[in-house]
């Protein structure tokens, strides 16, 4: 039924998800709460790759787990293919998860070391009731072929006989076994060497076009996320700081946190070999146990003002599809051609960014340079 309305229902709708964990606070004091995910909302379309970037402890993995209801978030709504997963119980939830699969960081840790590869790939088929053994065997061969492993060679091996990249291919074969609509990748290529990582990334891209998959791609690596995503969300201390189309978000970050992250990455021009040395923000990220009031980035933000402590900035759409949670966004308002035109329209920029300084945007494209306002 959902398929007939593919045009209008988004694949995944996440509304105001909150996830908190009780922990012992500093000094072993009971009653402290980690605000892992606080009021996160976003939508994903079919066939889309949605990237989530953030530092350690930003809540990106918790967000992924909240979406697949493992564990269930404290509050909020998760609509997957039109169904609210938060309301589903046991069997119905297991059935719904058939269409959303996960690929984790550690390829060895997610495969039973004593099973043969063919059995590992067959397991989801068994679990979801593909009765005919012959059909299962055929599907296993098909899946291994699809992820670039020769079934004749690898089917009988065990995980320890495989390299990290090959194990990750097995994990991907398991994930796509039931033709899911969505694959959640949590740091899925983080433990692989660059050359192997590129092979697996290309595999993801190929499967996406061949099988019409969607990915929720979670990573700490901004360049990696840019490489694979159509849209990107930047997560900071349990909240979304910014969501936007991949290309635009990287070229014209509006949240100072996104800009700080981009400034922290060492750059290397693949053609000229020219390097760019990072200029990181100073200070330590605050604790998710006791996040700052108002905007959670304000303690490290060079543009923070009194308002940032009093009032939590809501995500608002400042350009088509580009949402930012900041009182004093960078690079806004923007003209259609600010990126190509080096002379910026100062009159248009002054009203909202008054008192702040527009920071540099991105390398690679012509940059209006540092503009400061009186």
């Amino acid at each position: 039924m959902t398929e007939t309305r593919a045009g209008d229902t988004p694949l995944l709708e996440v509304l105001d998800i909150v996830q908190e964990f009780a922990v012992r606070g500093p000094g072993g004091v009971k009653g402290a709460v980690v605000h892992a995910v606080s009021d996160v909302s976003f939508q994903m379309g079919r066939g889309e790759t949605f990237g989530v970037v953030g530092e350690t402890g930003s809540g990106k993995s918790t967000l992924a787990r909240s979406i697949i209801q493992a564990p269930r978030p404290k509050s909020g709504e998760v609509r997957f293919l039109g169904t609210d997963l938060m309301r589903l119980r046991r069997k119905a939830l297991v059935e719904a998860r058939r269409d959303m699969q996960m690929v984790y960081q550690d390829p060895f840790g997610s495969l039973n070391p004593r099973w043969r590869i063919a059995d590992l790939v067959e397991e989801p088929l068994l679990g979801y009731g593909v009765r005919s053994a012959a059909r299962r065997r055929e599907r296993v061969r098909e899946l291994l072929d699809l992820v670039g492993l020769d079934p004749g060679v690898f089917g009988g091996r065990r995980p320890y006989e495989l390299s990290g990249g090959q194990c990750q291919r097995v994990a991907i074969a398991r994930a796509i076994a039931l033709n899911p609509a969505l694959i959640v990748c949590d740091e899925a290529v983080a433990s692989l060497d660059v050359l192997i990582q590129a092979q697996v990334l290309n595999l993801f891209e190929r499967l996406r076009s061949e099988l019409g998959l969607s990915y929720l791609f979670i990573s700490h690596d901004l360049a990696l996320v840019k490489q694979i995503s159509d849209r990107v969300a930047v997560m900071h201390l349990g909240q979304l700081a910014e969501i936007g189309p991949s290309e635009e978000l990287y070229r014209r970050p509006m949240h100072p946190y996104t800009a700080a992250l981009l400034d922290s990455i060492p750059g290397l021009d693949p053609v000229t070999g020219e390097a760019r040395r990072p200029t990181p923000p100073q200070g330590e990220p605050p604790s998710p146990i006791d996040p700052p009031s108002g905007c959670r980035f304000r303690t490290r933000c060079p543009l923070a003002q009194a308002r940032c402590a009093d009032e939590r900035p809501a995500l608002r759409e400042l350009a088509p599809g580009h949402q930012v949670a900041c009182h004093f966004p960078l690079n806004f308002p923007l003209d259609a051609d600010t990126t190509t035109d080096t002379t910026t329209d100062t009159a248009a920029t002054t009203d909202t960014t008054a008192g702040t300084a527009a920071r540099r945007t991105d390398a690679g494209l012509t940059d209006p340079g540092d503009i400061s306002f009186p």
Binding site: A223, Q227, S264, P266, L268, T279, A363
Partner: protein
Amino acid sequence: MSVKRDEVLTADPAEPAGAAALLEVRDLRIRFTRGGRRVHAVNGLSYRLDAGQMLAIIGESGSGKSVSARALLGLLPSSAEVSGSARFEGAELVGMPEREIRRRRGRDIAMVFQDPARSLNPTMRIGAQITEAIRAHSGIGRKEADERAVELLKLVRLPAAERRFHEYPHQLSGGMRQRVVIAIALAGEPRLLIADEATTALDVTTQAQIMQLLVELRERLGMAVVMISHDLGLAASYAQHVVVMYAGRAVEYASARRLFGHVRMPYTQALLGAVPLLEREPHAPLPVISGQPPDPAAIPKGCAFRPRCASATGRCEQAPPFSEHEPGHWWACWHPAEDPPGGSGGSGGGGENGATR
């Protein structure tokens, strides 16, 4: 010094070109015997590092970059057979007796590892761990050592150094722990600091802060740094010189500017092509090479990269020498890449356009 292509200048980059180097590694080889199998971890590594410079050793897991660094400090298991030469200020480190190397460890060369949590003792206060290192090196009094420890914590820019002095490692963030580990490494006032993937486990913002700290320490203390990393962007941004390793062997060496603007070795080219970079468009296809690095117990004869290399020919069955083909630029390849037409912003180097051979 005008040099023609393919004319071999000197056998390896450790060959002194001018003043004496701080560290000269020449044809370093390390073998292990494990379960009856001969594992060739390092098969000929040469580089030279001048005082106060930063050198990056780049390679994938298992390329021998860490093993080669540990060998300099005598930190390999007794089953390791080390040959070749590694001279630190003229003193030969290969085969140096344990007593002598122990005396030098931390004082000449110090090392920082990837995981700061595992480098620190979880049951000891930060202060005690630093003063222990200070007193091991200088034998000064307890009170003086305490003062020196706080000084070091301030030097590595640990916030609230006096308070942190009394805290335990678990009370610190990953970035702060790595600062403490660096402070401990600085206790013996080493002239060379080896940072083995020292920022790999850290977040990008913290990584950039720690790298900035290393640059600052290098400039202020005149300390040389060898950074071992798999991150080409990091190497390009911070190091003056870069060695690329494959299957235990140095395959390319040059100044960072020179190397990344004029890549010659197809392996380096493959690495550079496969790294996701901010400078690329979303969904830009990654040029991929197939296969995997060879098993260090069964490295193919000749060029070890041959089975994965698109330009390999019959000639590659003979190992190409690692030599200086262009001034300051060493590589080990029979079929080096040309500069791309119109590309390469750097100076020098002949970019005769056209296909990559």
